[in-house]
């Protein structure tokens, strides 16, 4: 036990003396929280729209006015030719072109029916559908007012309809920042933990100092724990710092228990640090550690459900996620922070992380060789 204390003392001295490590520990959480959370914005706002109004009637102006009235759309002026609107789409200067044909109003009055065209940039299919849905909502709203204004029946026989009273649970205002922040925090502790610990161990190999340790009676588990604990502590401090920033910067509600959150983070970190250490016991240089860790990080993060729901991944991918510690931790973070889930809601996550932690640490200790 005393041996571990000596190792810890040495590790912390080296960390606090390292001129790259210390800024990393403080700057990374700041940047990740303040930049990434905003950058990972899934909400659409200010969609640039060009309008080609060939009708120039009262009805068409009314419709355009509806689009102009909501912040979702940003009208980029009118054009008179479809070609120039298409050019704008192609040049990426507009996301949507709305083409109102001549006789739009006349047809409405005479035939009770008219049509217009929406050209939508669908490189990102999700946004395209969203833009379409918004436009449709506006146009059908426009329909309703037409019916009410022109026919005057609205007051006498309102159309049969079902009103929807929506209530968004756990994130009432659909603030994407509240959704992203716990996910980005999960990535933060992962990056800090996995990279720093892995790089640190392999550095001893590069410097040759590991040989000097390997001729001492130091135990394998003592060595691995000595390498794990400092970065475990640092990652948890970074989580605290990140939560603090999220609270200050965008008033992230923390519904669940902080103790539970940090308890789970501690458990999660054991598996991530274990994996980092395992990779570094298998590598000989910092580059190798970087490449291999990066590979696993990308895989784990993208499959972990930060941007896309795991439920919509193919079933084989969902099976793979069973050994993905980030998947569990991402869920835990969001459930505890936003939903206030308790320990018993997270039993599956608990046992899975426990198993993965034991597995990765066990492998790292087993793989670390004092004898080449």
């Amino acid at each position: 036990m005393k041996t571990i204390l000596y190792i810890l003392k040495k590790e912390f001295r080296q960390i606090f003396r390292n001129k790259t490590m210390l800024p990393m520990i403080i700057v990374v959480p700041l940047v990740q929280m303040l930049v990434l959370v905003f950058a990972a914005n899934l909400n659409l706002r200010k969609i640039d729209v060009v309008v080609v109004d060939h009708d120039l009637s009262e009805a068409s102006r009314q419709l355009v006015g509806k689009f102009d009235g909501i912040p979702f759309f940003n009208l980029k002026g009118a054009n008179f030719s479809i070609e120039s609107a298409e050019e704008k789409l192609e040049a990426g200067k507009a996301e949507m072109a709305m083409v109102i044909p001549p006789n739009f109003e006349r047809k409405l009055i005479r035939e009770n029916h008219s049509s217009l065209q929406l050209l939508i940039n669908a490189i990102d299919g999700n946004s395209a559908q969203l833009i379409y849905a918004y436009s449709q909502a506006i146009i059908s709203g426009f329909n309703k007012t037409l019916v009410a204004d022109w026919k005057g029946i609205a007051e006498f026989s309102p159309p049969v309809s079902v009103d929807i009273a929506e209530n968004y649970w756990f994130n009432k205002e659909l603030d994407y920042k509240w959704y992203m922040a716990p996910g980005i925090l999960a990535i933060l502790v992962t990056v800090i933990g996995m990279f720093l610990s892995g790089m640190n161990l392999v550095r001893e190999k590069e410097m040759g100092t590991i040989e000097q340790l390997n001729v001492t009676p130091i135990k394998k588990y003592q060595f691995i724990l000595g390498k794990l604990i400092p970065f475990w502590v640092i990652a948890l401090l970074d989580l605290a710092l990140g939560l603090f920033i999220a609270k200050l910067a965008f008033n992230l509600p923390i519904v669940g228990s902080l103790w539970l959150l940090f308890g789970f983070a501690g458990l999660y970190l054991v598996s991530v640090l274990g994996l980092g250490l395992l990779i570094s016991t298998l590598s000989n240089t910092q580059q190798q550690v970087m490449y291999v860790s990066f590979f696993f990080m990308m895989l784990f993060i993208l499959m972990g459900g930060i941007f896309t729901p795991v439920e919509s991944m193919p079933s084989w991918a969902q099976e793979v996620d069973r050994v993905n510690p980030i998947y569990y931790f991402m869920r835990i973070m969001r459930m505890v922070v936003l939903k206030g889930s308790g320990f018993f809601d997270l039993l599956e996550e608990f046992f899975s992380l426990l198993a993965l932690g034991i597995l990765f640490i066990g492998l790292a200790i087993w793989r670390y060789r004092k004898t080449a």
Partner: protein, 259 residues
């Protein structure tokens, strides 16, 4: 012949003849193969307690491979090996408690101070912190490093680093210290001073096992073995070897053996 018994009559330090002191390292038929290549080809030799045993050979002769096996950093393909009376296969940790090692690659922590390095290694070997403090004081005085004890290792000249590394390797009073080309890259005066430290350790009862390819250093050893292409070609006192090969100095002996 590799396991030829030697007659020792050259005893500049210690009073007891080596043979009566007994063996502290015994190696029988040590083989280390990498694929078809024999890095160590059936080595057999004994090292007596308290002697300075020189392990000579050209680069690539297999010296480092052998020393790493004796320290438990590498496992042999086959052979019977006892270090400090313990079997290197089954009593690894006991071996490690009784040996010190200084590799050819400098291996103290460059980003820790002199004092922090001493305390770390003292702690790792389980020495009580009071003992470590006393030893640190003595050691710093001896090496005239007291005023530099709070300097980072990175800022010290190579010669000082090596002397410090040696002193730290014997901080826990091991029975044997293994030195793998400890004086590589330093000037002759510093080398001489380094050997003063080795003599001092040997006089204090520590057996010294040292690899080198400086032939003047070979003269300082009680006995030397000369390796070539993975085999021990000669093993005797420097005096006897010079007589046997009709050579003026160890340099000539070495050239005659290694061609």
């Amino acid at each position: 012949m590799s396991n030829k018994k030697t007659k020792i009559n050259f005893l500049p330090w210690g009073e007891t003849p080596e043979r009566e002191r007994g063996h502290i390292i015994s190696v029988k038929n040590l083989v280390k193969k990498y694929g078809d290549f024999y890095a160590n080809d059936h080595l057999s030799f004994d090292v007596y307690k308290g002697e300075i045993f020189g392990f000579l050979g050209a680069n690539g002769a297999g010296k480092t491979t052998a020393i790493r096996i004796l320290c438990g950093l590498s496992s042999p393909t086959s052979g019977e090996i006892k270090v400090a009376g313990y079997d290197i296969y089954t009593q690894t940790e006991k071996v490690k408690n009784n040996i010190g090692y200084m590799s050819q690659k400098f291996s103290l922590y460059e980003d820790l101070t002199v004092s922090e390095n001493i305390q770390f290694y003292g702690g790792i070997y389980g020495l009580p912190s009071k003992t470590v403090k006393e030893k640190e004081k003595q050691l710093l005085e001896k090496l005239e490093l007291t005023s530099s004890k709070n300097k980072l290792i990175a800022g010290l000249p190579l010669g000082w680093k090596q002397k410090l590394a040696f002193s730290i390797a014997i901080l826990h009073d091991p029975k044997i210290v293994f030195l793998d080309e400890p004086t590589g890259g330093v000037d002759p005066i510093t080398r001489r001073k380094f050997w003063d430290l080795i003599y001092e350790a040997a006089n204090g009862g520590i057996t010294v096992f040292v690899t080198t390819h400086y032939m003047d250093e070979a003269e300082y050893c009680n006995r030397v073995s000369i390796m070539d292409a993975g085999k021990i070609e000669a093993l005797d006192t420097p005096e006897n070897l010079k007589k046997q090969y009709k050579a003026k100095n160890m340099d000539e002996v070495f050239v005659k053996i290694a061609r």
